[in-house]
């Protein structure tokens, strides 16, 4: 059933690949990487070193082979051996380095993105959750975060590495043999076109996989939350069927994706082999005529083979970034989403003012004397008005009962009072001040709300009671439990107040 929700207009943009990369999104994500400048720079440095080392090996080979041709047995291999050794150590160190810094950067980023996302989920108002499926939010905060940090860390690595390799190899080839080099480089545009063709398709199927993944997360959530209802209505088989359709879709999309990738890679390999072949023929003829040395030919052939590896990597990351773009936008939008209910600038300014010693940090943080509703009206985002023109005055010490038919607006009234939502008409005054001029902290810490379905957090009973006042001691907890008539039930349990694992 939840299926249809993910096709909703608001969310469908995730599933149509963006034609072009929007740099803004990635620059914003890059700010996460920039918080760790040391790791970032070292990672890029390692990538460049790996690239340079890989370019240097064929050159050493070339010199050695040419020297063998020149000096025969009199060749001095010691210098080359030393150079080779240095290159090996550099390569090894750089590989160690990029695994190290890449892994660190990825973990840092996914940690930060997740923390910022969670922090904002705590700040966002109730209405935000009315509009977004839990599965969607959970997929954002789990797999999308992981994926983005992967792209950022390993993508950065491969981008630097690829550019170093391609620039280095192109330069070396053109310097060694301009004509032959040009022939090899000419295959580049062709490869780019093929890559683009395949990667957009690979991207589309992978997107379908992710979209389905989002729904599967949602289905898990719904079926776990509703397990009792499913059981008593004997819906197990039905649910399994529905879930089966989702996983079938994931399965089909994943296979399409694998097939596309399976076709793309051999094409790149074939092209690279073809280019090597051309280099072999042309270079072989030139070498036979003595136009180039054997060493040059060998270095050239090695370069040709390595030249195509980065293209594949670049195409992969380019497609991955295109595909993840919507994810990136979503995660960023989630992190940057502004709660519709938050302290106004005036309140923030007031809170920022230095306080005299001993004074309350917030002058409004005082006992509630009067609650006044003035012509309060409210409608939910999409719905019809729930409350009309409510006038109400409550004095300190009064207890007031709100009664009415179901759907009459009782819960809404409470939600407004607790400022989970704000009135869409009229205003609510606390101590004769519009409650929007109170800080949320001051207002809500003055309210104790018991909801229709009370959510208990993981932890002991004492922990859950202490939730309202973290500084409460054992006696205060006991008093509160007795007042709520829960004490007898609690002490009847073997572990009493320390009973945990809800």
């Amino acid at each position: 059933m939840s299926d249809a929700f993910y096709d909703d207009d608001n969310f469908s943009d995730e599933f149509t690949p963006d034609k072009d990369l929007k740099l803004g999104v990635w620059t914003q994500l890059l700010t996460y990487a920039r918080r760790y400048p040391k790791d970032l720079v070292l990672l890029a440095l390692c990538a460049v070193v790996v690239g340079i080392a890989e370019i240097s090996f064929p050159l050493v080979t070339r010199w050695v082979i040419d020297d063998i041709g020149l000096y025969g047995q009199d060749i001095d291999l010691l210098g080359y051996g030393a150079l080779y050794g240095v290159l090996c150590v550099a390569l090894g160190t750089a590989v160690l380095g990029f695994l190290w810094f890449g892994g660190k950067l990825r973990s840092h980023m996914s940690h930060d993105i997740r923390r910022d996302g969670f922090a904002n989920l705590q700040r966002l108002s109730f209405a935000y959750y009315d509009e977004r499926p839990v599965g969607w939010l959970m997929a954002r905060m789990t797999s999308d975060c992981e994926r983005l940090s992967n792209i950022m860390a390993w993508g950065i690595l491969d981008l630097f590495w690829s550019f170093t390799i391609m620039l280095g190899i192109s330069g070396a080839m053109l310097i060694m043999e301009p004509v032959l080099g040009l022939i090899i480089l000419l295959s580049l545009p062709l490869l780019a076109i093929i890559s683009r063709y395949f990667q957009t398709r690979i991207l589309r199927s992978a997107r379908e996989v992710r979209q389905t993944n989002s729904r599967i997360t949602g289905a898990y959530n719904e079926n776990i939350m509703g397990v009792l209802t499913s059981k008593v209505f004997v819906k197990e088989a039905d649910n399994l069927n529905k879930f089966g359709r989702l996983t079938d879709r994931m399965h089909a999309a994943s296979i399409t994706n694998a097939v596309q990738a399976a076709i793309y890679l051999p094409i790149v390999l074939t092209l690279s082999a073809l280019a090597t072949g051309i280099a072999l023929v042309v270079g072989g003829i030139e070498s036979a005529w003595g136009l180039i040395s054997t060493g040059t030919l060998i270095a050239f052939l090695t370069y040709t083979r390595h030249f195509f590896e980065p293209i594949e990597q670049l195409a992969h990351w380019f497609a991955e970034m295109q595909m993840a773009q919507a994810s990136a936008e979503r995660v960023i939008s989630l992190i940057q989403a502004e709660p519709d209910i938050q302290d106004s600038q005036a309140v923030l300014d007031r809170l920022a003012q230095p306080t005299t010693r001993g004074a309350e940090p917030d002058a409004f943080n005082q006992p509630i004397e009067r609650i006044t509703f003035e012509g309060v009206g409210f409608r939910y985002n999409t719905g019809k008005p729930v409350l009309h023109n409510i006038d109400l005055a409550i004095q300190r010490g009064q207890s007031v009962a709100v009664v009415g038919a179901t759907g009459g607006g009782k819960t809404t009234l409470i939600s407004l009072l607790a400022r989970f939502y704000e009135p869409t008409a009229g205003r609510i005054l606390i101590n004769d001040v519009d409650y929007r001029d109170w800080s949320l902290q001051a207002l809500q810490s003055n309210l104790g709300v018991v909801l229709q379905s009370s959510h208990l957090f993981a932890g002991t009973i004492a922990d859950n009671i202490r939730y309202g006042d973290l500084s409460a001691d054992q006696d205060q907890i006991l008093v509160a439990a007795k007042q709520a008539g829960a004490h007898d039930v609690i002490i009847a349990m073997p572990l009493g107040y320390e009973t945990g694992d809800w």
Binding site: M1, V234, L301, G383, L392, T406
Partner: protein
Amino acid sequence: MTIGTLFAFITYEGMIIWPIRHMGRVLTDSGKAVVALKRMAEILSEPEESNLEQALTAPLNGQIKLDSVTFHHPGNPPVLSNLSLTIAAGETVALVGAPGAGKSTLIQLLLRLYDPQQGALWVDDFDLSQLSRKSVRAQMGVVLQESFLFAGSIADNLRIGQTQASLADMTEAVTTANLLGTIQALPNGFEALVGERGVTLSGGQRQRLAIARALLKDPAILILDDALSAVDTDTESQILTNLRRVRANRTTVIVAHRLSTVMQADRIIVLDHGEVAQIGTHETLSQTPGIYRKLCELQGQVQRDIQQSRTPEGNLL
């Protein structure tokens, strides 16, 4: 060795190094995979609800019998101890008792969500433990304390127990649950979305939707587990009247705290600490000293207090 061989050799050597570049990632991933595998295995190796027992083939009459039933959750004191009681087919029975008295547990046992450690439950002439869970649940209509609505339309949620239900059936069920007006007032009526991202239904409206959903099954045994708690007394009494009409001669078990909900029941069973404390009608029990009478006094007292405190201006919201 020729230069050609040397070159081939060097090329091979270069190729061997290449996969090592990926080894780091593969090693990390396989470490994660081992952990993931263990966690999956934990879930997969959990024993499943068995469903091999005899399936009910004919509709039940709706007689319920508990024979010295004792039940406790692992590591906890018994919730029900040596509980015996009989509910006749067609009877409307109310279960009352303080929170923790064992009312919901009794219902969970009836649904075979748990099996008792001692004693037996019988429906009609069948030992419940010998019947397949699915066939038992298929004959019961249950409205749970917390009504869970699946994301989807109101019609989807109504049809959950009765996939083939027609619009007329649904209309009848929601009329009995006193919800028709609410649904008709929604922009899309029965097609309005509820659950995640759907319209916001109040607690009472959700309860009534859950009642309609259970009624649509036309179950042999209807169980309302504190299912009218969020409904105002007016609506409640209308629903109870409707229920008496559509559930005439069908077994109905109502768990409730409010007197107004239980008063009309054929019999009231008072549970206390997992045992039957009292059984009788409202008339007899309210005259006999005991838990029920105390409840009557308390709730009656509250009623009188409200009437007395009502000021001439009628200052009650």
